[in-house]
Amino acid sequence: MVNAHLKRWFPVVGFAAALVFTGDHLALSRSSPERLRFAHTFTADSERTIVNAAIAEFEQEHPPVKIEQVVFNSETYQTIGWRLQFHGRQQPDVFFHWRGFKVNYAVERGWAMDMTPYLSPGFLDQLLPSTVQRIKGGIYLLPQSVDISNLVWYNQDVFARLGLAEPATLEQWREVCLRLRAAKLLPLAQGNRDLWPMGNFGEELLGQSLGAARLDRLFQSGTVVEPTDLRGLGTLEFFRTNGCLDLPGVLEPGGIGAMSDIDAKVVFLTGKSAQHIVGSWFLADIADARAKNELRFPVGLFPAPSGVGELDAMTSVTTGFLVNPATKNPRAATAFIELLLSRKYQSQFAALGNLSARKDAASFTSEPLGQRMLEILAKTPVIVPPPDTGYLPEHANIFYEVCGKILTGKLTVASAAEYWNDQKRNLARKGL
């Protein structure tokens, strides 16, 4: 008798219990002034530690506000994450972004707020004026760092062993790579699956050979790309044809197209390649690997050198934080950003290679590689934006594909211009 009753009521009781304990999952969540959501792409453990500390301090000083982190992988964030997050119920209150096309897009769509009324007096003076951009007279982005998109990180033990010095010109660098290959080492570990790693590098090469103005023209609709415009990409072709990107047993020729940049990073950090081209944020990954005792050699860096007679250019982008106008607590949101950008936390970030936008950056960047990067930043006259933040995504995409195809042998520098023009004509049919 009891058994029959149990059997009948068990599912009902079970369901009721589930509802009571986990029913909040079914609720339609709502944003509140006391829960701020902070969307960012700091995925390295070392970076997370700093962010967590800042959040803890902020929550202590501003009860009852609590900050919830939404961590994105920067690749996803850059492609689909940054838009999708605004389709959610609880849009982020504070979010990270790269200056350029996407910030302008966000401002146009009403996803960013002018922070001027909420800024503490004198706060803006702490930042480098060149990094503070006024859009329509308002401040929408507070800059956190200036990222250098391409630096050549190298294994100092290997260089010492082969008697190699940091190259000063492009021609010297090519020599270095050839000598590395001759010594049966993988000169460069690059993963171009997502197209932007080497695409940003290609942008720098073109910046060095063309200058910022002419380069910018290439990405506009209606302009024609001449074959001579792309001569800077010859370095990419050089690397491919001379085996600088592959080594039997480590990376197959053409493998660069299938490997992600994360995997390439691991290849370098585990000592399987001599060099790795990636941006200034790599220092955080190096710190991580050292902390886990997985890095067994000293790492050095040098900027991608320009050829004889070429300009000294660099691909770089300012990153920062924005506030969502839909936030229920703009004052707290702005205050949190100011905390992250304060000297205290910026100096912690600086130890991870973050090139702070603060005026006093040089004084607290003590990590030698970080200082080196600041120097490089200060000395380079020509800055070009990476295509994915500087231009319309469709146009940027064409360029990324061109670089990717040159690296996998599908295009040569000679045929690349025609491909680019074809794609532009195609886009024009769509109205772009």
Binding site: G254, R429, K430
Partner: protein
Amino acid sequence: MSKRGQMLFFVPSLLIFLVFVLLPTTQTLIDSFYPPRGAGREFVGGLYYRYAMTDPKFHQSLANNLIYLFLTLFFEVTVGMLLALGLEREGRLNSFLRVVFFSPSVLSLVVIGLVFGFMFKEGVGVWPAMLNEDRALVTVSAISGWAYCGFYMVIFLAGLAAIPEELIEAGRLDGAGPWQLFWKIKLPQLKEVIFVSLLICFTGAFKAFDLFWVLLPNQDHAAIVSTVLVNEFVKFDDPGYGSTLAVILTLMVLLTVAIIWAARRLWPGTVNAAVAAAKS
């Protein structure tokens, strides 16, 4: 049951189906005629369709879809049929083997994609270079095959079990060897099951998304229509073109179903004919 009662019973399903499937589908059709950018929404007619006709990316993705379709036909359906034929007999070992072969089908394609992605990671994985440009499609099809051959095996097993024993006996009495038994007697009997398998396999090839998104993101050479569609919609913020691709994809699926349906009607062979052939 009263007429009203029947109506009441029917309405909830119809409502949900209408609101969440039919309505959006028509909306997709409408959206394909309007551009997204800018405030003004003007009818642009067949602009996106004309663009699709000339867009090399779309052509590439369509070609990839068709290649994938034929590859999965082999890796999933054919392998599944072979497995079914091999494990037809009853027995403890065979039962166990059947459970094993079907198990990957219950796993999420995301998990499968990530695990295989690991094994095939360029430079760091176990079998590197399997996801390189020239091998990517074949590799992904093989992974699909690994995941779903058990599914088709189960379907074919059910089909084989439904074949009347007398037919087989009659064939054996006439001295037919296993190969002839398969060709002349089993295969015609499996006609229905084969058509269902083709239907599922072909529509599945067009619907495929998960594996490609997880294993080969951003790879243009390995793009299929679904991934191009999602990218257009989310990465490039162009629901107009995305909707156009969706419409074209749907039409292809419907066309495929229609073709298979028609082929089923036209294919000769009924139960009686098989029996007659076996007796003669």
